[in-house]
């Protein structure tokens, strides 16, 4: 253990940082795109079905294949990895945002409208706060997926902890595999925990369970 850390300590830190960096950008992009899209889709239920089907389809493309498909478009390196992971993060966030918004009690929407809230006010002051736990659940799910799959991004030269794992596989060095896997798991758990904290803060006080 100590030996491993002595030999690979600085590499481990760099790779973990890369992993986090790729995942965070992909997830942020996913949130920025999927949350507003999910909200807008609740205003167009017919389009919503089509869009969610497309996102579901993208989700079924094997992750390695998707990464490989990015190469002709974006070449190799961090960019194709971020794009691929971004596509993956879309569906859980999109679907949860849409469902969360749809599930807001129609009485509240009627009440908000009847009292003279504009569409935007109803969304920001009533529907999003009420849907926040469901939206956040989608984001947390995406975060864990993205961090785990970012490992594969090493294949297309994006770096990250996948580098350690794949080196271990190629060189038959189990300590490298384990040394790469454990940080991935810890990272996923840590991010999930932090997002859970964030979820609590964003959820209206009396809606917290």
């Amino acid at each position: 253990m100590i030996d491993f850390l002595n030999a690979h300590g600085s590499e481990l830190v760099t790779k973990t940082w890369e992993q986090l960096y790729i995942s965070a950008i992909a997830l942020l992009l996913g949130i920025v795109v999927a949350v507003p899209l999910g909200i807008i889709l609740t205003r167009f239920p017919k389009t919503a079905k089509v869009v969610i089907s497309i996102a579901s389809m993208l989700q079924t493309v094997p992750s390695l294949a998707l990464l490989a498909l990015m190469i002709p478009i974006f070449g190799i390196g961090k960019l194709p990895a971020v794009v691929a992971l971004f596509i993956y993060s879309l569906l859980p966030i999109l679907r949860n945002t849409y469902i969360g918004m749809e599930d807001v009690d129609p009485v509240l929407k009627d009440s908000a409208k009847g009292m003279g809230m504009t569409n935007l006010q109803s969304i920001t002051q009533v529907e999003v706060p009420m849907a926040m736990p469901v939206i956040m659940a989608g984001i947390r799910l995406s975060a864990v997926y993205v961090i785990a799959w970012a490992t594969l991004a090493s294949y297309i030269g994006a770096g990250g902890l996948g580098d350690l794992i794949f080196s271990g596989l190629n060189l038959f060095q189990p300590d490298l595999i384990i040394g790469g896997t454990i940080p991935v798991t810890l990272l996923a758990l840590l991010v999930d925990y932090l997002l859970g904290k964030l979820e609590k803060r964003l959820t209206p006080i009396n809606q917290r369970s």
Partner: protein, 418 residues
């Protein structure tokens, strides 16, 4: 009430859905300031549709609706809704906002300054007899009745003149419902608001409305005062909606309390001694004395029990005065008073005028006379033996009831012994 400036006018309004489904048709209705209008009908009669077109939650297919003389179609729906109060059946309080935030939701949308909003919220919460501390609570911490009280004042918070209520008390238990009905009626009278109230409960409509609009199959069947509806139901449907039972009771429905109350209740002023009080009780053969001040304003009551318990300690009437007294206004309908006396197990109810001056008392004995007349009067014999000459206004017109016969023609107004 300015008869010339109706607050709301429907001009041949129709709402027809795609595929020719007619929700409402040929709606012509004029609502004046200060009216309490109840839209009543069975499910699917179009009463809610009719109401929801007022604040443009639904758009009429044809016809026009004038609000304060202006076609609502020309105004911005959002602005319009902020000036019309809206109370719905499921209350619709925002669960993630405090009571304060809920009450001041519309004022906030209208960008009132903070201190003005705070002031308004405190004024309103007092109006519905809830403690000020409730402002910082969340709706889930309140009972259903309390929540709907907040729902009602939320609709008043931006000084709206017109309030729409869609079966607001449908989900409440009968006792809570009754107290909220009273509250709304009192607020409406006190603040001079105009209310459009959707209900399927005829009792509720009769109790609250100054104008009842009976709807069926998307049409207005009858549009008249409660008294008029009871006396002259437009057709079989209205009769059924009212119910044969209520038509029989119609005289109680249109008799007001001051017509049957005893006009000389036994009362005493707080300054008198207990000795005087007990002598008065003995002289008049009563066990309770109403307490009024020198000007005749009702202050409370004392009864023989508390007098007996406190005789050695207390000296004057004011020492044992019980101020928790239930009373009714002189123009309350007798029907409501009967309900109260029976439901609450009261022996009597004092009657006061608008200023709180004691006018009389309604006792159980007086009710017996009324019930007697209702039952026997209907058969045309046995009941209407004799009585004074005050013919009850409604009775001559109530026809078409079960026996197909007029109700009693006399009402006792003078009960000397209670």
């Amino acid at each position: 009430m300015t008869e010339d400036n109706p607050i709301l006018v429907y001009k041949d309004v129709a709402k027809i859905y795609k595929g020719g489904n007619v929700a409402v048709e040929h709606i012509n209705l004029t609502i004046h300031k200060g009216d309490f209008v109840c839209l009543i009908g069975t499910s699917g009669s179009g009463k809610t549709t009719t109401m929801r077109m007022i604040n443009r939650m639904l758009e009429p297919t044809s016809g026009e609706i004038l609000f304060n003389g202006e076609d609502i179609h020309t105004s911005d729906p959002v602005t319009l809704r902020r000036h019309i109060g809206y109370v719905i059946q499921n209350i619709g309080l925002m669960p993630h906002m405090t009571i304060y935030e809920n009450i001041t939701l519309v004022p906030k949308l209208l960008k009132w300054p903070d201190d003005k909003r705070r002031e308004k919220a405190e004024e309103l919460i007092k109006l519905v007899e809830l403690p000020k501390e409730f402002l910082d609570r969340y709706p889930s911490e309140l009972s259903g009745g309390q929540q709907q009280r907040v729902g009602v004042i939320r609709a008043l918070a931006a000084n709206q003149d017109l309030i729409l209520m869609d079966e607001p008390f449908g989900a409440l238990d009968p006792i809570t419902r009754e107290s909220l009905q009273e509250l709304v009626k009192n607020l409406q009278e006190k603040l001079g608001k105009t209310v459009v109230f959707v209900t399927h409960d005829m009792d509720e409509a009769l109790k609250l409305a100054t104008k009842i609009v009976v709807m069926d199959g998307g049409h207005i069947i009858q549009d008249a005062s409660p008294e008029e509806i009871l006396r002259h139901p437009a057709n079989q449907f209205v009769e059924e909606l009212i119910g044969a039972e209520r038509l029989i009771q119609a005289r109680a429905d249109v008799t007001t309390v001051d017509q049957i109350m005893l006009k000389n209740p036994v009362s005493i002023t707080p300054g008198r001694s207990l000795g005087e009080a007990i002598r008065l009780m003995r002289k008049r053969r009563v066990d309770t004395l109403l307490v009024t001040d020198d000007e005749g304003y009702l202050k409370g009551f004392i009864d023989v029990e508390s007098l007996d318990n406190n005789y050695s300690r207390a000296t004057s009437v004011s020492d044992i005065l019980n101020t928790k007294i239930f009373y009714v206004a002189s123009d309350t309908l007798l029907r409501d008073t009967v309900d109260r006396i029976l439901k609450r197990g009261l022996k009597y109810v004092p009657v006061v005028d608008k200023a709180g001056k004691l006018l009389g008392i309604v006792t159980r004995a007086a009710l017996v006379d009324m019930v007697y007349d209702t039952i026997w009067g209907d058969n045309g014999d046995g009941g209407d033996d004799d009585n004074d000459d005050t013919s009850q206004p409604a009775t001559d017109d109530v026809t078409g009831v079960a026996a197909g016969h007029n109700l009693a023609t006399d009402t006792p107004t003078d009960h000397k012994e209670a």
